[in-house]
Structure formats: C-alpha cells, structure tokens
Symmetry: C3
Subunit: 154 residues, 3 copies
Amino acid sequence: MTIETRLADMGITIPEPAKPVASYVGFTRHNDLVFVSGQLPMVDGNPSHTGILGTDSVTLGEATEAARNCAINILAQIKVACDGDLERIVQCMRLGGFVASTPDFIGHPQVINGASDLMAEALGERGVHARAAVGVAALPLNACVEVEATFVIR
Amino acid sequence: MTIETRLADMGITIPEPAKPVASYVGFTRHNDLVFVSGQLPMVDGNPSHTGILGTDSVTLGEATEAARNCAINILAQIKVACDGDLERIVQCMRLGGFVASTPDFIGHPQVINGASDLMAEALGERGVHARAAVGVAALPLNACVEVEATFVIR
Amino acid sequence: MTIETRLADMGITIPEPAKPVASYVGFTRHNDLVFVSGQLPMVDGNPSHTGILGTDSVTLGEATEAARNCAINILAQIKVACDGDLERIVQCMRLGGFVASTPDFIGHPQVINGASDLMAEALGERGVHARAAVGVAALPLNACVEVEATFVIR
C-alpha cells in the first residue's frame, strides 16, 4: 500500500506547503538528508489551535490535533522535497516537538503523539522516528505546538 | 582503555534503555548517523529529579546530576544502536539540552555540563560535542532536564 | 563576489569565535556535515542584549540585532571549521532559534529573522536554510536569543 493510498484511507489531503512565516525556506536537502522547518498547525492559512497548554485557552485533545496538523504540514514539505512522490521517503529520522505550556503542565508527550501517530500511521515503518518533546514559553502566531523534522529520502 | 572500562572505573552501569514515554523509538540510524530521542533522567523507571530550576523544587546540583543521568540514558540507547559494542562510537556530534527553568534562572550551561562532562569523561575525545542549552517552561513527567543527542557510529 | 567581500561590504568583521560557556566545543564536523553549538549574541565577551521579550527589558528591534550577532558568531565558528576559507561553505542547512519570551509574546519569527537575514545576505543562495523558532523561558547569561546551526561544507 502506498503512502498516498494510506493518506487517502485516513481522509487526509496533503495541502500546499505552508509558507514560511519569515525569511527562510520550508526545507533544505543535502544528498539524502532533508531538514524540514518547524511547522505550525496551519490550516487554510491560520493556526488550527492557539494558546498555552495548562491554561483554559486550549485542551490536551485540541493540542494533540494541532500536532497532527503540524505533521501533515511536514508531509506537505517533504512531498515537495520528493518532487511529489512520497514513496521516495526512506525514513522519518527525528521529530522535534515544541508545546507552548505553563510550568505545571507535563503532558507534552501526549500532545506530540498527535504528530508521531500520524507519521507512523501514514508512513508505516518508515514513519518511526526519534523524538524530543519539550514545553516552551510561547510559539509564533500564538500556536500551541510546533514540530520540526529530519528525513532521509532517496 | 575501552569506554566500558572507563564507565566501570566511574562506577557507572549502563542501564536498560529507558522506554519511550510515547509513540516513538529511542533512536534512529541512517548509515553512520544516529539520532537519539530526548532522554529524561530516568532511574529505575522514574525521573531522578523533578521541578523547575529557579524555584525551591530542585537545586543546581541536583539538576546537574539529573543531566548526568540523561547522558547515561543516552549511552544506553547508543549501546543498542552499536549492538552492545560502545567502541563503535566514532563521535558524539551534538547534545541538545533543555532545562526546565523560571525566566530569571541563567545557570543552564552549568546544568547541562552534567551531561557534557559525563560524555567527555566516558568517551574521551569521542565525547567532545557541539551543544545547545536552553531554559524551557516545563518538561515531560515534570523532569527538570531533558537531553537529546546526535552520534556518528561505525 | 566572495562571502568575505560581501561581509566587508556589510561592514562585518568576523570575530574570534566565542568561547563556549561550558564544557563542550564550538562545532563538530563529520565528513561534510558541521554542527555549530548554540551561539549567544556575544560581542567583546558579553551578550549584546539581555532580557525577556514581552517585558520592558528588551525590544523587538534589540532582539533582532541580538539574533544577527548570534549569526555572526555562527559564521565565526564555521570559519574555523573551514580553516579560514568561508568559500568552502556549501549550504547553511538549518538554524535553530531560541527566543527568551513571556507566554504572550508571539514575534519569535521577526526576532530570528535577524539571524536568517544575515545568513542570506552574507552567504547568498548558500545561506538559505530550514529553521525552527520558539519562545523559551530563559537563556544562558540572560541573553535574549540563542541560535544553533547545521552546515554542509566542503
């Protein structure tokens, strides 16, 4: 089963890659190594979920969905890196997950699972990655989560 | 002197690698490059030191010991990546150190030295690495420190 | 036009690389991949701008200038990695930008643009990179910004 078929079964359409918020690019590639810029949970040009975990502004479930949106936006960048052919993905090597949170919030792994689970579900074995998940003070556009990635493609 | 001998001299037993708190793996490898997931200071299944630096919940000394525990857990992951033979380590390329801290704490380098010093002591020249150390709002399981790593192995 | 000429036109002198604040090195290299340690906005041995974005201690403009100083310090490290010849730079692959900020600050991209713009201006196409920009609780030496980097050199 191809990654595109899996994504279709999951009801996911890969969007146009989100435009960088500032002066950089969505990914760089050197040989088979691709660095994907930190992706916000952009949907149709706006962050799907804003706020700080540990406050009333956003729930764990909403932030998990936001992380999933970040992962979909990562796939959008990788699709461009692969000239449109997601089968050229060899491995998602690493996700770096940043969760906007108060000092007493400790559910960062659950939030970033929204991105990790999407990767594993969409890419299968090729989506299994190393990861760091931390709680930061704040994120661009008041997004509640940001995820960056490193891939190997062929 | 082998790395295992050095570790024995330091009184350190490499533990079983800590299980990921969520849906990802402890490390990924592509050719000679290994990405190790962010390690918490887990000892016997629980974080050795919790809290936020700059509050009464944890001291600089305790956090430095926690960072050392993170580094030991990184070695546990790398040992698996090396099929048990730590001599296959070529270089610790990078440590990414995250310290849970208040806005007025500035001793992050001293905390992450707990990890850096362990690497240099255990791996010698092969343990000398690039590094980033920052103060984050909060970490999984209320751990006071988390360290991720990139290695080259053969 | 060489990178050194561009830098001269910009009125920038590459300083001696900043000494690590703790027990690690300024960069590591494996084959053509270089990891540069998180650089603070050190100028003549002290951070050029300290404080937390979102408070009265530092302005957006000052922090942007601090990020630019971080980028200059990254170039100082890379110059050593290249044995003094910046023309050996193939590509700035990734910048990781950390901005000390309050929970309600959202201008992290603008701050880190200080580093991104410097890279693009100094290195041209070779300075165009992937990036993550996040808001952290605090940074070493009370610096308002820290930037780490990954490069490919030949």
